[in-house]
């Protein structure tokens, strides 16, 4: 991984993040015309409007407001929430651990499930195992996370009466309890994405199994099995890395919704509930938080992709 290449990729990351911040800022300040009017509603008295203008610094020219906002962002001051009149940063950190844990758990499940499934399906092309995985993944993709969540609740709480959905246990009380209540939501988020990754790995592996270098491997005396595992698999995994990148962004989106289904006090629920209150500073900060996180993930995945594939080492 040459230094030149790292510099170039880092520069593109900076550009992307700046663009992300401009898009987010524009969405909350340019799109709605006068944010204060939208927040306080049409009947608000002029004095109240003026007060809010001053508090949010809305009367400064746009570029200046953007710079003030960004510098605040960099200093970790994400503004104060209207609804809770508390600094946004404090609100976020407590909820972040839920969303992060949920996302990581889901990501781990995807890796554990999708890679073997994709491999089995490709190795048994056309045979029963392949068709079973094909059908299973097709169904898996058809059920969105929030729907799967509801169905899981229906099965495990209504019919089997194992878990009651409302029982959220904070990690400080008991870590196993905390993880236990994340299992179902993580499954709800993971299943559709695991299906996508499994199908992608299967087609990528089938492509590589038909390539010239696999035929060369066979001509050297490798068994079919060895040719797949020692040669085709690594080449097939490279494009899968990019799919995992896209999946990471979808997992975060999925967990936002699933938190609502399972009543988990994560970023998602806070975000959704703030909409009703028009809590611009809080929502804007969260949107930026998530968007930058996703941009970072995509950047890291891209680096991983380059590191794994020797051909791209510029």
């Amino acid at each position: 991984m040459s230094a030149q290449y790292l510099i170039r990729r880092f520069l593109t990351l900076i550009v992307t993040v700046v663009l992300v911040s401009i898009l987010a800022f524009a969405a909350f300040n340019v799109l709605p015309g006068d944010p204060a009017l939208t927040i306080l509603g049409v009947e608000a008295s002029p004095e109240k409007l003026a007060a809010l203008h001053a508090r949010l610094g809305l009367d400064l020219p746009l570029p200046e407001r953007y710079l003030v906002w960004v510098s605040g962002l960099l200093r970790g001051d994400l503004g104060t929430s209207i609804r809770f009149s508390q600094p946004v940063a404090a609100l976020l950190s407590s909820r972040l651990e839920v969303t992060l844990a949920l996302s990581f758990l889901a990501f781990a499940m995807i890796l554990v499930v999708s890679l073997p499934l994709g491999l089995i399906a490709a190795r048994n092309r056309g045979r029963p195992w392949d068709l079973a995985v094909g059908l299973g993944t097709q169904l898996g993709m058809a059920i969105p996370p929030f729907l799967l969540g509801i169905l899981l609740i229906l099965v495990f709480s209504v019919i089997l009466r194992w878990a009651s959905p409302a029982a959220y246990v904070s990690p400080r009380e008991s870590l196993p309890g905390f993880l236990a209540c994340l299992i179902l939501p993580a499954v709800a988020v993971a299943v559709p994405k695991a299906a996508v990754v499994a199908r992608f790995l299967r087609s990528s592996l089938l492509d590589q199994m038909g390539s010239d270098y696999v035929r060369t491997a066979l001509s050297k005396g490798n068994t079919a099995k060895r040719a797949v595992y020692r040669h085709a698999l690594k080449n097939a995994l490279i494009p899968v890395v990019t799919v995992l990148g896209v999946t990471a962004a979808d997992i975060i989106a999925g967990s936002l919704v699933v938190e609502q289904v399972f009543n988990l006090p994560g970023l998602g629920r806070l975000l959704v509930s703030s909409i009703g209150y028009r809590d611009f500073p809080l929502i804007q900060a969260m949107v930026i938080y998530i968007a930058v996180a996703v941009a970072l993930i995509n950047f890291l995945v891209d680096l991983l992709y380059r590191a794994v594939d020797p051909r791209i080492r510029l």
Binding site: L19, L154, V257, A291
Partner: protein
């Protein structure tokens, strides 16, 4: 394309066909008025009179699901049209012209891609308030980056092919070359993406309506039916299952259709 050789296409077409039938039928006839409340017949379990049972206001669940296809199709179609056309325009120009235009377009797409689908919709709803029109705008926007990438890939791949150079040597302008020479060849991955995009749009609409910030009453929505029925999940599970199956079926149908088209075009689309 024989059924035997392309099961996904056949299954996809069948499901989408049925849903389209229901969608059209929904305009003309529904067993009951979807919004007719009859408090005397609340929570009736599925029966001949009410194949999908009734909900907490005694409304016929089957009728409401039929009407729900209207929103699903409307949102799906418009999202794919808006997002697809914008994505195609951006992707094609970036792929064909390359250089700075390509670099700039791709950086913009990266930035937009940083907002996971639901987030983009949340922003639009927060700022402009909920509403079906705004929702479609948001979902269309969400669809642009992924479609632009696919379109760019197609145009990049064919840009320097010899038959394109030949067309240039005959004096064809860039627009003619992109539309007449490259697009027909680069179309199949985009058609697949449109079909899968339709499925994703249905999921997104259902998720947002479930959160209460998607389609607003009186517009019908499977997602909202799900959130309303969750409260009495134990007493009347059928109120939840009916819209759930409808969503899953729609998504399955369009995903299968996408797979089928990809398999069918693989041969011809060389």
């Amino acid at each position: 394309m024989g059924a035997k050789r392309n099961p996904s296409l056949v299954a996809g077409l069948a499901i989408v066909g049925i849903l389209t039938g229901v969608f059209i039928l929904g305009f003309l006839f529904t067993p009951y008025d979807a919004n007719l409340m009859d408090l005397s017949s609340r929570f009736l379990s599925p029966s001949a009179a009410h194949p999908f049972g009734t909900d907490n206001f005694g409304r016929d669940v089957l009728s409401r699901v039929m009407i729900g296809t209207r929103t699903a199709f409307l949102v799906g179609l418009l999202t794919v049209l808006i997002g697809g056309s914008a994505g195609l325009a951006i992707g094609a120009t970036a792929g064909y012209s390359g250089g700075l235009v390509d670099e700039a377009a791709m950086r913009l797409m990266d930035a937009m891609m940083a907002f996971p689908g639901i987030l983009l919709a949340l922003v639009v709803v927060t700022v402009l308030g909920p509403g079906t029109g705004k929702l479609i705008l948001a979902l269309g926007l969400m669809f642009v980056p992924s479609f632009a990438r696919i379109a760019r890939g197609g145009f990049l791949q064919y840009r320097d092919r010899e038959f394109v150079l030949s067309a240039r040597s005959w004096g064809a302008g860039p627009v003619r070359i992109m539309a007449l020479h490259i697009l027909p060849n680069a179309a199949s991955p985009m058609i697949v993406a449109a079909s899968v995009g339709f499925a994703n749009a249905v999921i997104a609409e259902a998720s947002l309506s479930y959160l209460g910030i998607g389609v607003q009453p009186p517009d019908p929505s499977w997602g909202r039916m799900l959130s309303e029925s969750q409260a009495f999940l134990f007493k009347a599970p059928w109120c939840t299952l009916a819209p759930a199956v409808a969503i899953a079926l729609a998504v399955l149908g369009f995903n299968l259709l996408g797979d089928g088209i990809r398999a069918a075009r693989k041969g011809g689309g060389q």
